[in-house]
Amino acid sequence: MELIFERSRPGRGSQILPPPDVPAAPIPAEHARKRAPRLPEIGESDLSRHYQALARRAFGVCDGFYPLGSCTMKYNPKLGEEMAALPGFTGIHPLQPAHTVKGCQLAMAQTEYALSRITGMDRFTLQPAAGAHGEFTGLLLIKAWHRSRGDEGRTVILVPDSAHGTNPASAAMAGFTVKNIPSTAEGLVDLEALRAACGPDTAGLMLTNPNTVGLFERDILEITKIVHDAGGLVYYDGANLNAIMGVARPGDMGFDVCHLNLHKTFATPHGGGGPGSGPVGCKEFLAPFLPGSALGGNGGEQSIGQVRAFHANFLVVVRALAYLMTLGNSGPAEAARGAVLNANYLKKKLEEAGYRSAFPGLCMHEFVLTLEGLKKEAGVSALDVAKAMLDAGIHPPTMYFPLIVHEALMFEPTETEAPETLDRAAEVLSEILRRAHEDPESLHAAPVSTVIGRPDETAAARHPVVRYVFPEG
């Protein structure tokens, strides 16, 4: 389809603003723009159709099953959208005086309270705008705490080799050196390796629990003790909280600081990549280091500063609060159980269909298949299977993550899917497996029903074209 720039015609556009009602004032010549930006010139009717065409070429939770592992693509209740559109929220300037923003402050306080109850943490900041932003913030809390004690030599953050890429990347941004901790054959943290890695340079450990292969680290109390005994702190990557909210709390497991992803666990929509929200919770002793805002209210004397302007991705918080109110005291556990039940149900069906789980037995809210065997036998890769799913109208699972599993496909069905949706997905995947053996070529060619076939990614990276080039250059 055409780019919006290709639909543009000189002189088209909409009259949005009235003529000026004050005397004209010329922009000083030395600051005035010499060449207008080539923005589209398009009428509202064509603009509307352009974006409708783009919407048709997108795939959301509204379009079908979206079991993208580690992303918790649950249904986003529509009430949240309406509440986030209330003019009493959208029309509020971030620097209004405190007595005029009581509702915003209460919404923040209520969200912080609920998240504290759910995680077992004492204090929260809602400032971070996403999970990775939360990781960075939480790691700076750890750094500031060690510094405040004169413990400058703690420069290493331990990260399991199964961890999400943002964990080591955040640690590096926070100025730490990353040391990888291998996983056992069962997919859990190797306690011996952890003990060996801990030492006087240990600043902390980052851990997802359940971890990224969908297993609960059953030695969690031992893990956090090992790190604490070595003088380090333990960071909880809350991306997988959906498995255990209302059932168990990271704060009770020995974690000192955590982030949550409101855009995963707390049902706020993912927006084609964002905005999200990554609140950070911590135990009381880390509270003095929490961020503040230069203009919007300062943190304490020992505050790490701030990681963005103003207070929070506030409208995302509003949506999450509506969800939290709906869940109340019992809903979190019901949702978590539903998520774990659905994951195990789908896992069993796929195993029965002939797929191999990377780790046998019960899983938490997600599970990982390994297609290594299929690749060897039939030359069909995880990518091929994922692309074949596209033709069946199902969003593929997360591919090639975690890195410790070869030919990985990671499924997270979430609690908001009905059993027949899982049954159908299992049938689709079963059929794909049959084709893998009988007609592997057809899988290499997939998808065939989408608006494009597999794009040439190598060419894209080698000769980057990252903007439209106008005919005149």
């Binding site: 603003l17 009602d21 004209a24 723009r33 207008a36 930006p37 923005l39 589209p40 010139e41 398009i42 974006y51 070429r57 009430l79 509440m83 009493g88 029309g91 300037h93 971030p94 509702g103 915003c104 109850r117 705008a129 700076l140 999400h164 890429g165 080591p168 941004m173 609960f216 255990i244 059932v247 709390r249 009770d252 049902a267 993912h270 084609g272 990549g273 964002g274 905005p275 203009l295 500063g305 701030q306 990681v307 963005r308 302007a309 103003f310 207070h311 506030f314 509003v318 939290l324 109340g328 005291n329 019960l362 692309k387 969003h395 059993p419 998808p447 990614e457 894209a460 980057p464 990252v466």
Partner: protein
């Protein structure tokens, strides 16, 4: 109630049975007894949709909505055309995630490609990313892009937004880069004596925090003469009329995209945009969409240059950014497309003219004067004897006055305010200050 599970209880029973499990407790065998909760959380009972709506509306009702907003300082009250929020609310955009599967995500990918193009056009630079969290974190990410082994200092204009300065400082607390604040002299950046061969970059804001127009080209020349990069923090709503940062020498341009169709929303979600010149393209953080083709030669868009990113490079990645502000970027694209070059120019011209009208009228009052000399855009600082009383007087009439700075106010006017509102404001200020005719 209270969980959004579609399956009926009996259906869930059947699922348990299919797994050979007796119930929920069986699912959590691996969770040690010691950390398992044995009852409901210490929270109120679940609520129905109608009850939640009432509670949320009550919260919103506790905020004061000003009918006239003359405050900016990093968040700007522009007119948002009806089509913008309608189009951005399409469920397919709202409920999708990062377009990992290009074949079914061409719509999201193309929208980002178009956004990147518009940001390149506005900034006059070669490449833009798909967005980062907000303008402040964009500035901090840009500083990190400039670091190299020999150059580890960032010189940051003291006339930049305080939240942006603080965010850069926090990121540098992480990375170990040194931040040197360049003093503001008469409200404008002064780099004298600060640039040496340890300086990686200079960050300046245009217009700056006080609304003043900086001599961008001179600052860029000074930075370049010292071998440093120039990062420009720009307000995109000005770029229909103000010279593009790329044209006056910026190597990287960043900014807060909120003025492009995003509501004030008490500070977020907003939109951090970043653009860079060709040589710095591969140092940009976050998602970048590129154009390519499929086997049949059809134009296709994909996430590209991923070798920069955390999921590939882990601790060696250019940034940790994963989720971004894609829907806000789409909103900004719709806004820019609807306004077009002519509309964006009108926004800039009217912001400028109306701010100057208010400044002129205020300064006709005894005791009110502009704090800084020289050109400003749509924000300006007035010294005035009693800012607190002035703000209270305005608030009583539904007007949010300028942002209080020591002994003065930082005012902002956009295309949205009418002359009548501005005249009313001046009359109230006059009355509060007790000035007779």
């Amino acid at each position: 109630m209270g969980n959004f599970l579609p399956a009926a209880p009996a259906e869930r029973e059947a699922q348990y049975a299919a797994l050979g499990l007796s119930g929920p407790a069986d699912l959590y065998r691996d969770v040690p007894e010691a950390v398992r909760l044995d009852g409901p959380l210490d929270l109120p009972a679940p609520k129905s949709e109608l009850e939640v709506r009432r509670s949320m509306e009550a919260l919103a009702g506790q905020n004061v909505r000003f009918s006239t907003i003359l405050r900016g300082a990093g968040a700007y009250d522009h007119y948002i055309p009806a089509a913008v929020s309608r189009i951005a609310a399409k469920e397919e955009f709202v409920t999708a995630y990062t377009p990992y599967q290009a074949e079914i995500s061409q719509g999201v990918l193309q929208s980002i490609f178009e956004f990147q193009t518009m940001i390149c056009e506005l900034t006059g630079l070669d490449a833009a990313n798909a967005s980062v969290y907000d303008g402040a974190s964009a500035a901090a990410e840009a500083v990190a892009m400039c670091r190299d082994r020999k150059r580890t200092k960032a010189v940051v204009s003291g006339a930049a937004h305080p939240d942006v300065i603080a965010t850069i400082q926090t990121y540098c607390f992480g990375s170990g880069m040194e931040v040197v604040l360049a003093p503001a002299r008469e409200g404008r950046t002064d780099l004298t004596g600060l640039l040496d061969d340890g300086v990686a970059c200079v960050y300046v804001q245009q217009p700056n925090f006080y609304g003043l127009l900086e001599d961008g080209a001179a600052l860029a020349d000074q930075a370049h003469a010292a071998g440093a990069k120039l990062i420009a923090g720009v307000n995109p709503a000005t770029l229909g009329v103000l010279e593009a940062p790329g044209a006056w020498g910026a190597d990287i341009a960043v900014g807060e995209g909120q003025p492009l169709g995003l509501p004030l929303s008490w500070g977020g979600p907003y939109l951090g945009f970043m653009a860079a010149s060709q040589p710095l393209m591969r140092k940009l953080p976050g998602r970048i969409v590129g154009q390519t083709a499929d086997a049949q030669g059809r134009r296709a868009f994909v996430l590209t240059m991923q070798a920069r990113e955390q999921h590939i490079r882990r601790e060696k990645a250019s940034s940790n950014v994963c989720s971004n502000e894609a829907l806000c970027a789409l909103t900004a694209s719709v806004y820019l497309s609807l306004m077009g070059p002519a509309g964006l120019m009108q926004v800039g011209e009217q912001c400028y003219a109306k701010a100057h009208y208010l400044a002129d009228e205020l300064c006709k009052l005894q005791g009110v004067k502009l704090r800084y000399p020289g050109p400003f855009f749509h924000e300006f600082v007035t010294d005035l004897p009693d800012p607190t009383d002035v703000l209270a007087g305005l608030e009583a009439k539904g007007i949010l006055g300028g942002f209080p700075l020591k002994g003065g106010l930082l005012w902002c006017v956009t295309e949205k305010q009418t002359r009548e509102e501005l005249d009313r404001t001046v009359a109230i200020v006059k009355e509060v200050l007790g000035i007779w005719n």
